[in-house]
Assembly symmetry: C2
Homo-oligomer: 156 residues x 2
């Protein structure tokens, strides 16, 4: 995945391969830095942060399946992370009257407060880590990645 630049391959398709490698290395580098800071400064993890960020947008809560779909991870994965967040009092599960298979998952008041603090720091970190990318480049890149993604989603 993170194949090296050494032989500098060329030919058809190589530009896209190179793009993918850069994309992956960039996101892994940033992810690693964020993970470390979340651990050191807030004693939490990236997956917990992801779940809380998803829930923060929707005060009334989300279904487990919506959560896993949104986060692009498996169902079982979310179960474990939510379990831990519940045991820490940051997230609550609420059985629903209508469909007893499902449960609404939402941030507790403590979870909401906690996330707001962490998210503010997180936004600052991103600004710092991507500081060298101009605002204009950021918007251009975002646009390219968005159109890529919507194209891609069409195929599944």
């Amino acid at each position: 995945m993170v194949a090296g630049p050494l032989p500098a391959p060329s030919g058809p398709g190589k530009d896209r391969l190179r793009l993918w490698i850069r994309l992956l290395r960039a996101s892994r580098t940033i992810e690693a830095e964020l993970r470390e800071r979340l651990k050191k400064e807030f004693d939490t993890t990236l997956p917990r942060f992801d779940v809380m960020a998803a829930l923060y947008r929707v005060p009334e809560g989300m279904l487990m399946s919506d959560l896993s779909r949104f986060l692009l991870v498996s169902n079982g994965n979310v179960t474990g992370i939510v379990d831990r967040l519940v045991s820490e009092g940051l997230v609550a599960r609420a059985r629903r009257n209508g469909d007893r298979r499902t449960s609404m998952v939402r941030l507790t008041d403590e979870g909401t407060k906690s996330f707001a603090t962490i998210a503010a720091a997180h936004e600052g970190w991103i600004g710092e880590l991507l500081g060298k990318v101009s605002e204009e480049d950021a918007r251009r890149l975002t646009g390219m990645l968005t159109s890529f993604r919507s194209n891609w989603e069409g195929r599944e």
Copy 2:
């Protein structure tokens, strides 16, 4: 991390935050697809592929520490993955005369042959998954990400 587009936040720094979210979602989407195909078609995993890709570039082999640095993962992580590749006969460890703490890790002949096959398929998949990105955009994006990364690396 994968915070949602719903409230459509704005303000200083929001463009970079949005860029980061797009970047992460794009790489996770592609990664998930690659993982699935590697499993289904070659019964292997992304981490194994990553290690083999790194070693493929360097026939004489790499030290464990170089490998983990190159792949942006921890030392202990690489140990486990290499252990499994060794037990599958795809990778070999060779103790060195000079420094007996270290060992050179390299692909076996079988590993080299196996990787070449998988890498060809992999390149095709990337071409397919990124097919909607024009070659020109691919080069532009790559350039932006490269300069980002070299800027970033300067700070550590």
